[in-house]
Symmetry: C2
Subunit: 428 residues, 2 copies
């Protein structure tokens, strides 16, 4: 069995005007969909954060991937590393999202290979990763400060015909009351039990007030998380952290870099989590030496695939680190891959992040994957357990072409609202 | 698909009178063979170091294993951990071999499950571990000081009809000339390119002289290793190490414990290797903190199976440790599993240890697995690529019953030759 075809399709999905430390989400989030097709016509799907650079890198990867046996992941990875060379790997960058190219490319291809392997062997992907440690994967409510608006063609306008969560997610959320209302609507709709607020947007005391308001609204046992995306100073991180002891389940990237995280960790009695200061195996020795965090948020898109994420889980177990999962705006291919990975990872004990409720479009036949009481029931069908809706893919690809977007740049989007706004690596 | 039957068969295989730090090999080495059979009559094989305790533990594991899907490794492992509890795990012990029970039990079962998974999916086991990074796995010549004798029923006698290596391996090797002659006969027969001497037997200067004699005989580029099995003092480890700088490829467990290893490592300019001071994931934090060794010898039998060994490989890559592979006396099931694991481990760059040339019996249909110019060609057949010779298994099981041996105890065997001989954790 050989990979005979590789299709790379950039898509744009409607995204509401969500705020974060780097600015504002554009009306569309970009993803790139990879489809590998074997010579016996079995296809597998992968999905990664989109950009022209990533699409081009995936196109360039075709020369390495086509002709390979999808089970030969080590050979494919070595081939890609040779093809791209270390200089093409790219750096993570200071934004909340990760910009490394080679790991994204390999991740998309590896997931598609696992989808094929599962279909060929008649096994769900989780069974090829050691089998399921759980049948249901819990996700968390991922709250954002946001402007009013539906995103997409509506931009900052709202759809008057929307109902339920689709209506609620159009509302602005710019203060504690707005954040609580958003949380209530999202938890009512999806059944999430853990709640995360993307911070780094409002002055730190306002964000602390929002967390206290969430605790008051949802009760003191509710697992709450705050993620200022590393734009606070150590002083601010400690000061706000002390206010939130006993409130937060974990405190995600309050400050930038392993040294600063370690300082906050020593001063504040809340577990620290990261998807910014420890984001690759190269960062692990520093993490161990400094104890920069207590919990690592894995992400198969930037740790180098599903197997690498299982290996990260072993490292977490070995060094007494907790393990949770990070997300970016995504469709169901990534969600399915995340669910299979989480199902096969015994020590992934925290509810995973997902932006999925903020999106409304899908490339999957049958449409959006449903949450059941805050969890995704892990499919038992072969592979990822999903099928591609080719018409939907084409529609979202056309939407990508029409959007004119070529990469994620939340600073530029923010400047359309607040002239002269600038990203700051440390703002408060 | 469910596991319907689990057969546990202790066997004894003829072993010559090999010397090591703990004494003398008995005339037979013990192994326990595990066969799992699915409800659709597909069987998988595993093999671990044998003892009554291990056989009993495997028998007790049957209640957990039977009825399980062989792909559900996480569930099987969790079930075994619950069943046995942490207190049954056992300790590694001070002898050159490992005495932990739960990891041995799981390792045997996991390998048998992989064999089944491979057969069911039509894939060699290496393809279920990420695919092959290499098609040939290099092994090293594993030299022992030894008394004259063939082992088994012949004990210290020799078979006058033996020819080739079977004749050569009967000879005594008790000084540098004997060690060189043994090495030449073994390398002539199998084509090994790397050479390891099991030390900790003769006074340290004699062992250093043997290494220098090997270097003289095989040339200065030959990768040589010396393994005193941790019974030297730090002073001796440093003194002998300094004599062997530029001679050894690596210096394996000269001293006992991570602290002592770190002291030797700082003083001697040879990479240190271990399969004694860092032998479980629990030991990894100490290894990282102290830098107790430069190279870890993995062993799927005591690291907890094939997936755990792949995870160990990632840890080695992450912390800049080299990776090699340890062995005990074994038959072809373990050898095949080791070869598949090594094939799927990109950073397993050293020739692996194996005792296989010292044994002559086999439980495999088709007999002994052949080395080709020092390497095992990794099978492309489904599973481990081996089939069980049930008559041979029965013969070796009867040999086990007849041997009267219940566990490995090299001290007792040594006392039969040298009355009052005692193992010493630090001898020189």
């Amino acid at each position: 069995m050989k990979i005979a075809e590789m299709h790379v399709t950039p898509i744009a999905i409607t995204d509401p005007p969500l705020l974060n430390a780097a600015g504002l989400h554009a009306p569309y989030a970009l993803r790139t969909i990879v489809e590998l097709v074997t010579d016996d016509n079995i296809y597998g799907l992968g999905e990664v954060p989109g950009s022209v650079a990533t699409t081009n890198a995936l196109e360039a990867a075709r020369a390495v991937v086509v002709g390979q046996d999808p089970f030969q992941l080590n050979a494919i990875q070595a081939g890609l590393e040779r093809h791209f060379g270390p200089e093409a790997a790219g750096a993570r960058g200071e934004a909340p999202w990760d910009k490394r190219r080679t790991v994204h490319v390999f991740s998309a291809i590896e997931v598609a290979c696992f989808d094929i392997m599962g279909k060929v062997t008649g096994r769900p992907v989780c069974d090829l990763l050691g089998g399921r440690a759980r049948d249901r994967v819990d996700f968390s409510a991922y709250l954002f400060y946001k402007y009013e608006g539906a995103g997409g063609a509506l931009g900052f306008a709202t759809d008057p015909n929307a109902t339920g969560w689709a209506k609620a997610r159009q509302a602005a959320a710019l203060d504690p009351d707005g954040v609580v209302a958003e949380a209530q609507a999202m938890c009512d709709e999806f059944g999430f039990k853990s709640i995360k607020l993307k911070g780094g947007v409002m002055p730190p005391d306002e964000e602390a007030a929002a967390m206290l308001a969430l605790q008051k609204a949802f009760g003191p046992g509710t697992p709450l998380r705050l993620d200022p995306n590393a734009i606070w100073s150590v002083e601010t991180g400690i000061r706000i952290g002390k206010q939130l002891e006993g409130v937060l389940e974990y405190y995600e990237d309050p400050v930038r870099g392993q040294e600063a995280m370690a300082q906050v960790g020593q001063a504040v009695n809340i577990p620290l989590a990261t998807n910014m200061c420890t984001t690759s195996f190269d960062n692990i020795p520093g993490s161990v030496r400094l104890h920069s965090e207590d919990i690592i948020l894995s992400d198969h898109h930037f740790w180098g695939g599903l197997r690498a994420s299982v290996e990260l889980a072993r490292i977490c177990r070995t060094f007494g680190r907790g393990l949770s999962m990070h997300s970016n705006s995504h469709v169901g291919i990534s969600l399915a891959a995340m669910a299979h990975l989480a199902a096969a990872t015994p020590n992934l004990t925290y509810a995973c992040d997902t932006h999925y409720p903020w999106q409304s479009e899908e490339v999957l036949a049958g449409g959006r994957l449903p949450f059941d009481d805050g969890a995704l029931v892990v499919a038992n069908e072969p592979g990822l357990g999903i099928e591609l809706d080719r018409a939907a893919l084409e529609t979202l690809h056309q939407q990508y072409l029409d959007s004119g977007l070529t990469e994620r740049n939340d600073e530029v989007e923010m400047q359309k609202v607040q002239s002269g706004w600038k990203f700051m690596a440390t703002r408060w």
